[in-house]
């Protein structure tokens, strides 16, 4: 274990192996805390959905919650893609629920239990990058499968004058290619920034308590600030999940309906 008492805001994002695994192509594949928390998210999602799949005619509270979330995601897809977007509902729903539960689990106060800390699965760029890569692959595959080379008309808005077409095509193409990167980066940095802010103020609390005297006021103010920032972070968790799902549906709409 590292020496106790070291103040390190980035320690919460460290991926540590729990069980040693096997070697594949020269890389060590372990069971890490990141994988463990992904299983926790999976378990919670399963419990949540199974609890609501009762199909009672007059729904109980849990079923109302699950139906509310499903209706919410259905609404996103209906307003973004339209009636031929129903086949994308499983992917967008999975995306939304996984990101929402991962973000929220990272904010839970598991630090009360000595020795463990909550780990945000989506605070790893590999995880968010993979989710964005799958969304973008769906966009590319659907676009080229459905429209073949007419897909490139997406980059030339209707009615552009002929001399400007090459320039506009380049700019629109660049903006299109940045999309998966921006999706991944937005979620990743939003999670990292909020958690680092909370940890930095936690450091102030510890250092102020060590100093004693008038610094206790600083400690008190820092604790109040941590409470407010945590409330804001809960809101940001939900908003970032919603924005990821909404933008994915919008990009799929671009591929499916070609503006």
């Amino acid at each position: 274990m590292a020496e106790p008492g070291k103040i390190d805001p980035m320690h919460q994002f460290e991926v540590q192996p729990i069980f040693d695994g096997f070697t594949l192509f020269g890389q060590q594949i372990n069971f890490t805390n990141s994988a463990l928390w992904m299983f926790v998210v999976l378990g919670l999602l399963y419990v949540f959905m199974m609890g609501g799949m009762k199909r009672e005619l007059v729904p109980g509270r849990w079923q109302i919650m699950v139906e509310g979330v499903v209706g919410f995601v259905d609404n996103i897809i209906a307003t973004s893609i339209g009636p031929n977007g129903k086949k994308y509902t499983p992917w967008v729903f999975t995306l939304f629920m996984f990101i929402l539960f991962s973000n929220l689990l990272g904010m839970m106060p598991f630090g009360i239990i000595p020795g463990i800390h909550p780990f945000t699965v989506t605070s790893q760029f590999t995880v968010t990058g993979l989710l964005a890569a799958i969304s973008f692959s769906i966009v590319l595959i659907v676009g080229f499968w459905k429209h073949k080379f007419h897909f490139f008309s997406l980059f030339i808005p209707h009615g552009t004058p002929l001399p400007m077409i090459p320039l506009i095509f380049m700019v629109e193409l660049l903006s299109f290619l940045v999309r998966p990167f921006s999706l991944a980066l937005r979620l990743f940095v939003a999670m990292i920034a909020g958690h680092i802010l909370i940890k930095v103020f936690a450091n102030f609390v510890i250092q102020a308590l060590d100093a004693g005297g008038a610094s206790l006021l600083v400690a008190l103010l820092s604790i109040v600030f941590i409470a407010f920032v945590s409330a804001l972070e809960l809101l940001v968790c939900a908003i970032q999940a919603y924005v990821f799902a909404l933008l994915t549906s919008l990009y799929i709409n671009d591929a499916e309906n070609l503006h």
Binding site: R186, A193, V243
Partner: protein, 106 residues
């Protein structure tokens, strides 16, 4: 100016970009609220676009934050600075060895 001081100054300058993005985000929500108070019944239909605008404005602020983090923890110039420092030490060491060797010879 040594590298770590320059890093800290660079990160502080990049944080100004985050403040500029905060202005943009406030602009998005402010415009939405202004329009919503004039026409409350049409406000709920535009909520999706509100969050898309917020996400786009916040992304640029987060990119500025990412630049600050890259400068602080993984600056690309670190490898070059180490190479230059190693070469300078290697050039100085033989010269330093030759000078004391020349003096007792005289």
């Amino acid at each position: 100016m040594d590298l770590s001081s320059a890093q800290v100054i660079g990160a502080g300058l990049a944080a100004i970009g985050v403040g500029a993005a905060a202005t943009g985000v406030g602009n998005v929500f402010g415009s939405f609220l202004e329009g919503a108070l004039r026409n409350p019944s049409a406000a709920d239909g535009q909520q999706g676009r509100l969050f898309i605008g917020f996400a786009a404005a916040e992304l640029l602020g987060l990119i500025a934050f990412a630049v600050a983090m890259i400068i602080l923890y993984a600056p690309p110039a670190v490898a070059e600075a180490e190479v230059v420092a190693v070469e300078a030490v290697a050039v100085d060491a033989p010269a330093a060895v030759e000078a004391p060797a020349a003096e007792p010879a005289e």
